[in-house]
Symmetry: C2
Subunit: 188 residues, 2 copies
DNA sequence: ACCTGAACACCGTTCAAGT
DNA sequence: ACCTGAACACCGTTCAAGT
């Protein structure tokens, strides 16, 4: 912990951790204050209210995700490898990342969350679709396969926290699973 | 009010009214008790906890809806007229019925609500599909049109409370709208 | 059988006062 | 600039005691 005093970023980070553990309901001012070792009153110095924290947290997540895709996936030249890299991302070393996305997907009814989830999904569809086009599929086929791929990606996140036994967990089985999935989706 | 003493049914009825006005969050023990002119402690005589009330309320709604369809729609001989009757049901005189369905649709993420909404949707699809088959469409076309019709039906409920201006409100415009919609959906 | 009243826990929000 | 501490409102849940 570098500085005693906290900023909005610290609250967002704590909110993301709580989100991963207990879903949207766990993003509650009092428990977060306890976790940060600070009185809940101090929260209101940084944010207008709980909704403002949720909004900022969603935004934080969306930016981080976009940046990660830009840095770790977009630059992969081979489109098949790019797809595999994306899917492998669904099994990030820390379960955390996946659980956060799952929590946001589960809470997509919330008007603070819905627009960000929509945007993220739309972007994912766009670059999935582009990858399939590079592989030689026509526009229609590319869109169709991108839809399936996007669904599978999100579905893996959700299953990972609703039905963990159904999803591969060890690094060997993950690699195998990702290879099979990529094969299936790129087959003619 | 026939009897001073209340039963579970009275709490469900109050819960449905609250649901129509303020969504799932408005189904709260304390406000309902106030509305019923009773202490909130008495609630726990009838129900284990708030979740039990929500579950019972969902069940109450599902049964009432099923019964209404059986009594007011299923017996209409002409399939076109039956479709029109269904759509007209989406504009029931009291806004209440529509708002309750909209609230349940909005809360379909809730595990207490999801199964009932799924069942209601499935049944609706089934008898819509049957109506289209009676009109001479083949199985595939019937299913497709039933999907569109079901979507439109639910969409009307949702829009009615998210975007009321976009939905007809006076009885004349409603009849016209329903006629147009039925025409569109049964066109070859 | 159904209800009251008081209690407790938990959370959101405000605000004067501290450093 | 950031935080504390106390206060208030609101809701869920329990339970002994009433009728």
């Amino acid at each position: 912990v570098p500085n005693q005093r906290l900023g909005p970023g610290d609250w967002c980070q704590a909110a993301l951790a709580a989100l991963a553990e207990g879903g949207l309901d766990a993003v509650a001012v009092e428990p977060l204050a306890k976790r940060l070792g600070v009185s809940k009153g101090s929260f209101y110095w940084h944010f207008k209210d709980r909704d403002a924290l949720v909004a900022a947290t969603v935004s934080h997540w969306e930016n981080a995700l976009t940046a990660e895709v830009k840095n770790r996936i977009a630059h992969v030249a081979d489109p098949r490898e790019r797809l595999a890299a994306l899917f492998r991302g669904a099994f990030g070393r820390r379960v955390e990342a996946g659980q956060i996305e799952a929590a946001f997907v589960a809470g997509r009814e919330n008007p603070l969350i819905a627009p960000a989830v929509r945007r993220v999904t739309k972007r994912r569809m766009a670059y999935l679709s582009a990858a399939f086009r590079e592989l030689g599929f026509n526009e229609h086929e590319a869109r169709h396969r991108a839809t399936v791929a996007s669904g599978a990606y999100v579905g893996l996140f959700v299953m990972r926290h609703t039905n963990p036994a159904a999803v591969p967990a060890r690094s060997g089985t993950i690699d195998e699973f990702v290879a099979d999935l990529t094969d299936l989706l790129t087959r003619r």
